[in-house]
């Protein structure tokens, strides 16, 4: 063994599947001077990798999870440490059968072979199941079983051999050190790792510590929101029919989805695993050491009472399990996060401290590659990983109370049927707008955006349903978390006007002699405009893909305001602080909770506002894109003439404490103009979709550039900005695909019901039913969907190759495993294409 080093370029902590693959990928990307430390022994240090069931079901509705799962499966295959056993998800209820049809749709989107099976068809592949208790199955032949420990060993050895990676097992990290030179960006920098073998000064540290990750993060006074959670597993056997296969895995894995169990052959035995028991959570400090653990630290003593119900249901499906002996059973630990997604990327408050945590074996190699690329290129290249970005969390999400409550609520959803719009039951109203009391009077239906509560619609507007002759949707799934009131609010806004609570906008101010220059460095479009003017602009990563998409306002000679969406607030806050000069020429202030925003839109909006201010509200006095200081009903405000919903109006900014007075004044003035409180269903969905406005995280991802998104301006500014070189190259190359709007021409399914796609990655297909994939492997899929009340059609957005991206092209969309005809509108708007309403 080599001497314990004093210095290293990078120290990776943890040699499970993630840490091992990470050093391997870093080596492949040219990193040297890598040290891997692990508190346990090798090759099985005692973390979650060592007891994983090691199977990969590649179909997931979530794009990041599906594509990284598939990518990981292929890495395992590349080492020849993987077997395609096949796998079947079986249904015991009609609701689950519908979910399996939804699975078929996602399988089609990601190009994964899958088949629906009858109960007899399931039995043909797995002769020992009881077909009487199931209604059908979803079969995926490329479900694989992998050797995660050996794969880790191979990757680690590759790093040792090709990059001289030094590995120290049985080495416990005692502390992390950072500098204390906090400048205007508010960030410290990682400087070292103190272990029981010695101290290493280092430039980068990666936390790949699985269930212990937050404990290690806490050593640097930062936080990785995950909680170690029990997943019970019992190994039962032997059973002759399994032993006779002479194989580790000879039959497809069964996921008995409605009982939250799986049955996976392991040589002559069956592993029965469960996500159906009560949530059993542990603090990292409760996990025993290797010495204190009878099996391993993450294989905690089995609590049989929690498993009994699952046993009963497992025997219903596979009777022979009842007579087999329970040879080994554990409360295995795995990581759960507040939103079900991993924690990847650089910690926002500590420079060069990286998280590669909350990753399961099924996506381990792929996510390790993501982090390695992030460290190398400043952004992951293999996939857009914004949903897994550790910077996405708000402070309110970084507490044990929050992650425990969320884990308690989400554990059962591991095999659950989760609606795309599903709302959390607990930990609500963590951050509220100043209008909460008024919205409660109007019986608002609140949706939570990370930690912010936003009215999605107002039940007080139920009369609009009758006024406009609207109805609930016929299929419960399509109607869930939706209301025809939202359509009523939309039509009222188009006819009269509406007020939208935009308090969840994330607002920052850059100030100082270098503020405008720095703001220009962040943005594609020119920020150095006249004071009182604004721009709408992408922020790109270095590869020219979208990091964000937002508005920036020139508030003063030396002050720029940034307004971004609530789902991107954490990432954008971090992005600014990561890139800002730390020499004092720019200060950064997050003013989100001191400034509140109301949107006022609709043909009557000028009439309403005109009663409350003397300001000339014509395009001459309050032109599109301008921001002006005015008093509205005596309240100091800033009027920003802009619209995300397709009707004229303003975003009105005022101090938080003035919000209620502004709200009251607008509603009083709006009484005779049909003004209604209007929810996020109009702002974020129907209004936006009718105009074809792109949304960060949906249409806009790092995998696409502004040329493809239709957001490239005719000219490129002279100033340098992040991603400029790649952007120029993209402009030179031209778009291969274009972001378009499509209309659903007939929503009737085979049962005669009207169906409503939800923007859940439904594949857009040719008339022959073929997937549409571009030369980069990007598939055409629905990125956003919703009803367009003023268009009278269900609207979809997505990317199509140029040859299909023109008006009138007939295509199909798959939804719940059925095909529906769609027609391309084109890159522009389905409603008011010339923006005459908008700029009136």
């Amino acid at each position: 063994m080599s001497e314990f080093p004093n210095t290293a370029k990078v120290v990776v902590i943890g040699a499970g599947i993630v840490g091992n693959c990470l050093v391997g990928h870093l080596a492949r990307l040219g990193w040297t001077d890598i040290v891997l430390v692990e508190k346990g022994p090798l090759p099985n240090p005692g973390g979650s990798t060592g007891h994983a069931s090691n199977f990969i079901f590649p179909v997931d509705h979530n794009k990041e999870m599906a594509l990284l799962g598939e990518q990981s499966a292929n890495q395992f295959r590349g080492f020849d440490l993987s077997v395609d056993s096949g796998g079947i998800e079986v249904a015991r209820s009609e609701e689950r059968m519908e979910e399996l049809r939804r699975r078929m749709t996602s399988a089609k989107a990601w190009g994964i072979e899958a088949h629906m099976l009858t109960p007899a068809g399931v039995q043909e592949l797995v002769p020992f199941i009881n077909p009487e208790v199931i209604m059908g199955g979803f079969y995926c032949p490329t479900v694989s079983v992998v050797d995660s420990l050996e794969t880790g060993t191979v990757m680690r050895k590759e790093a040792i051999e090709t990059a001289g990676c030094q590995v120290f097992a049985n080495t416990e990290v005692l502390d992390l050190t950072t500098d204390d030179a906090v400048g205007p960006n508010g960030r410290r920098k990682i400087t070292g790792v103190i272990t029981d073998k010695g101290t290493i000064e280092t430039e980068h540290v990666v936390i790949a510590c699985g269930v212990w990750s937050n404990r290690i993060a806490n050593m640097a006074d930062t936080y990785i929101p995950l909680v170690p959670t029990v997943h019970q597993m019992a190994d039962v056997g032997p059973m002759d029919i399994l032993a006779e296969t002479n194989n580790e895995i000879g039959y497809p894995i069964i996921r008995d989805m409605d009982t939250f169990c799986y049955e996976r052959q392991s040589s002559g035995s069956m592993e029965v695993g469960s996500y159906g028991h009560r949530p059993i959570l542990h603090h990292p400090d409760e996990i025993p050491s290797n010495e204190e653990a009878a099996l391993s630290p993450t294989e905690m003593p089995f609590t049989p009472d929690d498993f009994d119900d699952q046993m009963e249901t497992a025997i219903e499906l596979i009777e022979m399990l009842g007579e087999a002996e329970i040879k080994y059973a554990i409360n295995g630990l795995l990581s759960i996060t507040p939103d079900g997604m991993p924690c990847l990327g650089e910690l926002p408050d500590v420079e060069n401290l990286w998280s590669a945590a909350a990753i399961w074996v099924k996506e381990g190699p792929g996510m390790a590659q993501v982090v390695a690329e992030w460290m190398t290129y400043g952004y992951p290249r293999v996939i857009d990983a914004h949903g897994a970005d550790i910077a996405r969390f708000y402070d309110e999400e970084k507490s044990d109370a929050h992650i425990w409550a969320r884990a308690e609520e989400s554990f059962i959803k591991t095999y659950g049927i989760v609606h795309p719009a599903e709302q959390w039951g607990d930990r609500r109203h963590l951050v509220e707008s100043p209008y909460r009391s008024r919205q409660e009077v109007l019986d608002a239906e609140f949706f939570q955006a990370r930690v912010w509560e936003r009215p999605q619609w107002y039940n007080s507007n139920a009369d609009l349903v009758e006024r406009y002759g609207l109805a609930e949707r016929g299929v419960e799934w399509d109607n869930r978390w939706w209301s025809p009131i939202t359509t009523g609010e939309h039509l009222n806004m188009r006819e009269n006007c509406g007020v939208v609570d935009l308090s969840a906008f994330q607002i920052y101010e850059l100030e100082g002699p270098g503020a405008v220059e720095f703001a220009d460095y962040l943005a594609v479009n020119k920020v150095d405009v006249a004071v009182g003017r604004s721009i709408y602009t992408p922020w790109l990563n270095h590869d020219g893909g979208f990091h964000s998409d937002l508005t920036m306002m020139r508030m003063a000679e030396d002050k720029v305001r940034v307004v971004t969406g609530v789902f991107d607030g954490g990432r954008d806050d971090f992005w600014v602080r990561k890139h800002m000069p730390n020499d004092g020429s720019v200060t950064f202030t997050n003013i989100t909770k001191s400034v509140t925003t109301l949107g006022l839109w609709g043909p009557n909006a000028p009439a309403v506002l005109g009663q409350l201010t003397d300001q000339d509200l014509s395009q001459a006095g309050s032109g599109y894109g301008s921001i002006i200081d005015v008093e509205v009903a005596g309240v100091p405000c800033q009027l920003f003439r802009i619209s995300y919903v397709g009707d004229t109006g303003w975003e009105i900014y005022t101090a938080w404490e003035n919000g209620p007075a502004l709200w009251d004044a607008l509603f009083e003035a709006g009484r005779e103009h049909g003004l209604r409180a209007t929810g996020g269903g109009v702002y974020g969905s129907s209004g936006r979709l009718e105009k074809g406005y792109r949304l960060m995280g949906a249409e806009l991802e790092s995998e696409y550039n502004p040329v493809e998104a239709g957001l490239a301006r005719p000219k490129v500014k002279a100033a340098d900005f992040i991603g400029k070189e790649a952007y120029l190259a993209a402009r030179e190359a031209g778009a291969e695909v274009q972001c378009v709007t499509l209309t659903v021409e007939d929503q009737t399914d085979s049962a005669g019901q009207q169906r409503h796609m939800m923007g859940g990655n439904e594949p857009i297909l040719t008339l022959e039913g073929e997937r549409i994939v571009d030369s980069h492997g990007r598939v055409s899929r629905v990125t956003s969907a919703g009803y367009g009340p003023s268009v009278g059609k269900h609207l979809l957005m997505g990317y199509l190759p140029n040859e299909l991206a023109f008006a009138g092209t007939d295509l199909q969309v798959m939804y719940m495993n059925e095909l529906f005809p769609v027609k391309v509108v084109g890159p522009g708007s389905a409603f008011d294409a010339d923006d005459s309403r908008l700029k009136s």
Binding site: P288, E291, E292, A294, P301, A314, G322, E323, I326, K327
Partner: protein, 259 residues
């Protein structure tokens, strides 16, 4: 045959066992619990005997309420009745335990008649007192042999048949014949205990456990404190790799006087 098996709930082996801050108990934070391994064999032996000769197995434990887990485990592998002699702590000494068990057994036998055979573990896996079985058998006036690794019931198992028990000694076995009712202290190696089946586990949940309060005065021993003995640290010296290591190995073997 009516067979009684007395078991004890003990920390699962294989892990470093910590002592509570007051030094009066083990720290159970990371521990699973199990049945003493000798007693697992006793239970398996009893189940095999009734499978062969018919009859029923009653399992009995003295312990805190959580010891119900061990009774249900016994039921999951074939015990038909379970009795918890509930104590207020894990600190009962062998004398007090035996007194309480004797009273409980007498009570059981007063209604259903004597057990043909009582099986104890030779000693418990945690405190290792080697006393309880002998004390109970003595109090009940029954013969007992300890260290047993083989049990047979002659004939058809009828009430007059003898029980043959075998224990290992250097170079052979001692074989005892005992009249019924009698008691044996058995050891690991008697058999290979079965694991519960899933159906067995589920059936065990439905078993009604008879709970009686442990009643016995203090015994002669008092727990002063528990402590962990210092760990023995072994040092490993790497002598070399491959053929290069051979001279150093020879040196060591010579030092040890084996060459």
């Amino acid at each position: 045959m009516r067979i009684l098996v007395c078991v004890k709930r003990v920390p699962a082996p294989g892990a470093k066992i910590n002592v509570s801050a007051d030094c009066q108990d083990v720290d159970a934070a990371h521990l699973g619990f199990t049945t003493s391994p000798h007693e697992e064999c006793a239970l398996e032996g009893a189940v095999q005997l009734v499978e062969e000769h018919s009859g029923e197995v009653t399992v009995l434990t003295l312990g805190v309420g959580e010891a119900e887990e061990q009774l249900r485990y016994a039921a999951s592998v074939g015990a038909g009745h379970a009795v918890l002699v509930e104590a207020d702590s894990n600190a009962w000494d062998p004398q007090r335990t035996a007194t309480a068990l004797t009273a409980a057994i007498q009570d059981l036998e007063s209604s259903d008649g004597p057990f043909d055979l009582m099986l104890f573990g030779n000693e418990s896996a945690d405190s290792g007192g080697f006393q309880v079985g002998v004390r109970v058998a003595h109090a009940l006036g029954r013969p007992i042999v300890n260290g047993i690794k083989g049990i047979e019931v002659s004939g058809d198992g009828a009430s007059e048949s003898l029980i043959t028990a075998r224990r290992e000694i250097d170079g052979g076995f001692e074989v005892y014949e005992l009249p019924r009712p009698c008691a044996l202290g058995v050891m690991e190696g008697l058999n290979l205990p079965r694991y519960p089946t899933m159906k067995g586990r589920l059936a065990s949940k439905k078993l009604e456990i008879t709970t009686v309060e442990a009643a016995a005065g203090a015994g002669g021993q008092e727990r002063v404190k528990l402590y962990r003995p210092p760990e023995t640290v072994s040092n490993t010296v790497v002598l070399g790799t491959g053929a290069d290591a051979a001279p150093a190995v020879v040196d060591v073997l010579e030092e040890l006087g084996v060459l």
